[in-house]
């Protein structure tokens, strides 16, 4: 699974920054059928966690009401240089993670 974490490359200490995340995932609803009529089982990213230098800053519980290739945007305060890491798990138990670096001046 592929994901992108979008951050400003640099920020001033104490500045509120925008974090944007996209994860490549079909977010299968469980209401669709294959051509032969067989139902496609539900498989969505049900839990997503974001950490800033190891400390949790955001958590999301998602359902089938979130569009495919989920996009999430939220804010955090730039405290120190380091990394923001997103990790997730889907209904099939598949896990993934992605990270981005930030420089705080």
């Amino acid at each position: 699974m592929v994901a992108r974490v979008h951050l400003p490359a640099a920020a001033r200490r104490g500045e509120v920054i925008e974090v944007r995340i996209t994860v490549q995932h079909p977010m299968e609803t469980g209401f669709r059928f294959e051509l032969g009529g067989k139902p496609i089982p539900k498989n969505v990213i049900n839990s997503l966690l974001v950490r800033y230098n190891g400390a949790q800053i955001f958590r999301a519980e998602l359902g089938s009401g979130i569009a495919a290739n989920p996009y999430l945007q939220f804010h955090t305060v730039a405290r120190q240089s380091g990394e923001i890491e997103v990790s997730w798990v889907d209904d099939n138990g598949e896990r993934g993670s992605e990270r981005a670096a930030i420089t705080v001046v």
């Binding site: 209401f31 009401g65 939220f74």
Partner: protein, 151 residues
């Protein structure tokens, strides 16, 4: 005469049958929205206000509708938004997502893209750090539904 009467009553009974499941299904959906809301808030009162929901008034495609939420909050350790929940009135699963915010967020604002099964009102409820619930909503006109329940 009696046979004919019985025949007609049977006919009337048959005609009533197909209507029943549809009405039941609709009642169930409405029920489940209320029960989902009640389950989240644990029956606590939800006040209207402080939550602003932003969506396009007209969405061409129900498969991906941009939605952003901001909550009027200072976002300090003593007074912040604990969670934001997105609810749909017409989706087969009304609970779309819950976001848990930390006081370090600086700004109580989240955005995502949702699936909507037809034109409807989207309800967003937020819980503050003092435990109180607030809500805001937005009407969305969906021209092409996400057809979540394949109906």
């Amino acid at each position: 005469m009696r046979a004919r009467r019985r025949f007609f009553s049977l006919l009337a009974g048959l005609a009533a049958v197909p209507l029943l499941p549809a009405r039941l299904a609709r009642a169930q959906q409405a029920d489940s929205f209320a029960s989902v809301l009640k389950k989240i808030t644990a029956g606590a009162p939800v006040k209207s206000g402080r939550v602003t929901v932003d969506t396009p008034r007209l969405a061409d495609n129900g498969h991906s509708v941009p939605l952003s939420v901001s909550v009027d909050s200072p976002m300090t350790a003593a007074d912040h938004v604990r969670s934001i929940t997105l609810l749909s009135e017409r989706n087969p699963r009304p609970l779309m997502a819950t976001f848990h915010l930390d006081p370090v967020a600086g700004r109580a604002h989240v955005a995502t893209r949702v699936r909507l099964n037809g034109s409807q009102r989207v309800l967003v409820i937020a819980q503050l750090s003092d435990g109180s619930w607030w809500s805001g909503d937005a009407e969305v006109e969906v021209t092409e539904s996400a057809c979540l329940d394949a109906s």
